[in-house]
């Protein structure tokens, strides 16, 4: 049973220069417990789609159900069941790690004592225990990112949305974060919807990829299926596959006709 399904999800921005169609009708489904990689060139509509699915931006057309709640009719129901970690994070540099985690728990309606206990538990899970009394400004990039993710996990969401979670991290921190995402799915069955520009990340982490381009779904499937179909061989790099899908370079010359 799909935990996310959208039909014709559309967002048009009106600007002085005329309407801009950022998302032109996205149809996709995500299964429960899946790690979905959401890829696309800059400006393809990834973040706009993510902001619609997390109730931050109202669609101008189409419909969607997220975690059993209708996006348009019951945004509060969606908010209770999803976690969202924005690209820029979202903690106040002046506030301590503990205060941010406890307040976040309270924002998701945990009673005071439970919010404090949950903060300790998350800190243990994400190796933040020794940092609890520091201000957020005093954290390194990798520590900040772990805190951002801890904030998104406070209420044990069914679906976790991650917007470019490893941008700016060193290789060690990236590998740790990949392990964390896999662990979330394996231990808690959390569905993870992540956008990324790193194709190795998408390849290593995702069960399935959705590639968007110019506001529409350009291709979807498992990494190997996409490589076979668009890259010409299962051994093709995801880089070449991606470029072939988005038409940024000519498709590789191949004798086999593309099966549709």
């Amino acid at each position: 049973m799909a935990i996310i399904s959208t039909a014709g999800l559309t967002r048009t921005f009106s600007t002085k220069a005329g309407p801009v169609e950022a998302v032109r009708g996205i149809d996709l489904t995500v299964e429960r417990g899946e790690i979905l990689g959401f890829l696309g060139p800059n400006g393809a509509g990834k973040t706009t789609t993510l902001r619609m699915l997390t109730t931050l931006l109202a669609p101008t057309g189409g419909a969607a159900t997220v975690a059993g709640h209708d996006l348009l009719r019951d945004p509060a129901g969606v908010r209770r069941r999803i976690g969202y970690v924005a690209q820029s994070g979202g903690v106040d540099p002046q506030v301590s790690v503990r205060e941010e985690l406890v307040t976040q728990g309270r924002l998701y309606r945990l009673p005071r004592a439970e919010a404090a206990a949950r903060a300790e538990e998350l800190a243990r899970d994400l190796s933040l225990t020794d940092l609890m009394d520091r201000t957020c400004a005093a954290l390194s990039g990798g520590q900040r990112r772990r805190l951002d993710i801890a904030m998104g996990l406070t209420h044990r969401p069914e679906v976790l949305f991650l917007d470019e979670p490893t941008t700016g991290l060193d290789p060690g921190s990236r590998a740790d974060l990949w392990d964390l995402v896999r662990r979330l799915r394996d231990e808690y069955g959390t569905t993870v919807f992540l956008t990324t520009h790193y194709l190795d990340e998408a390849d290593a982490l995702s069960d399935r990829l959705v590639v968007v381009d110019k506001g529409r779904v350009a291709a979807e499937g498992t990494p190997s299926a996409l490589k076979l179909r668009y890259g010409g061989s299962i051994d093709a790099t995801l880089q070449d596959t991606f470029l072939a899908i988005t038409g940024r370079t000519p498709a590789p010359v191949d004798t086999t006709p593309v099966a549709v």
Partner: protein, 251 residues
């Protein structure tokens, strides 16, 4: 309803702690009205101001509203910072009442300005202000309601404009005419007919007149009635607009 109240209390607590950490923020806002009291107040002592009461009873209500006007209209800067750091978006993704997102912030601002108003009144009393206690307390209520309205409006504008270098000039452009046309510094009773007529189009004028009426013990006149009605209308409109913007912010 109880969820809305606990959301509001939670956010109010978060922002109140931020303010309490910054002694600078708490005291600096009261500095400008204090300077006016000490360096401008004595000039008015012997002047015929065309109103009831002595010069302090005219000046102090005006200074309190000036404090609220300039302070609360700039409150929106903090939410621009929160928008840039992603804090606002994180809160909007949580199942928190949108009205609480606004009120938690705005009530902190109102509490801060009432606190500063108390400081100003204490200093003014030392300099010679004599006014009935009930009138002074009514004055604090006006400061609280007006700053709630103005801070809501400021957050709404800040999220619409969203760039600090546009927001600053916009607020300056709003606050200067508001101050001049409402007779904050000197009562409009001194104004020529056209200026007096123009000032009746400025909502704050009614609030200033009502506060001055309170400071001379006139609680049942039309000035007080108009002031209460205008404050209620302002705060209802501003909170409605502010909540709507928090619902859609950053689109």
């Amino acid at each position: 309803m109880s969820a809305f109240l606990s959301d509001t209390a939670l956010l109010f607590g978060r922002y109140a702690r931020q303010t309490l950490r910054s002694k600078f923020q708490m005291l600096f806002g009261a500095l400008m009205p204090l300077l006016y009291l000490v360096f401008f107040g004595p000039l008015l002592t012997g002047l015929p101001l065309g109103t009831q009461g002595d010069s302090w009873q005219v000046l102090v209500p005006g200074l309190l509203l000036q404090l609220g006007l300039f302070g609360a209209l700039f409150a929106g800067f903090s939410v621009i910072i929160e928008q840039q750091s992603g804090v606002l978006e994180r809160m909007r993704a949580a199942p928190v009442s949108r009205l609480a997102l606004l009120l938690g912030r705005v009530l902190r601002d109102a509490a801060l300005f009432v606190f500063q108003a108390v400081l100003v009144v204490l200093a003014a009393t030392a300099l010679g202000l004599r006014a009935p206690l009930a009138g002074v307390l009514i004055g604090f209520a006006f400061v609280g309601v007006l700053t709630t309205a103005l801070a809501s409006l400021s957050y709404a504008l800040a999220l619409k404009v969203s760039r600090p270098h546009d927001f600053g000039p916009l607020i300056n452009g709003l606050s200067m005419p508001s101050m001049l046309l409402s007779g904050l510094m000197l009562p409009m009773a001194l104004a020529p007919g056209w200026l007096d007529a123009l000032s009746h189009l400025m909502p704050f004028r009614y609030v200033v007149d009502a506060m001055r009426a309170g400071y001379v013990g006139d609680y049942t006149g039309t000035a007080m009635l108009y002031g209460v009605l205008m404050s209620a209308a302002l705060v209802a409109a501003a909170v409605t607009v502010g909540t709507r913007v928090f619902r859609r912010a950053g689109a």
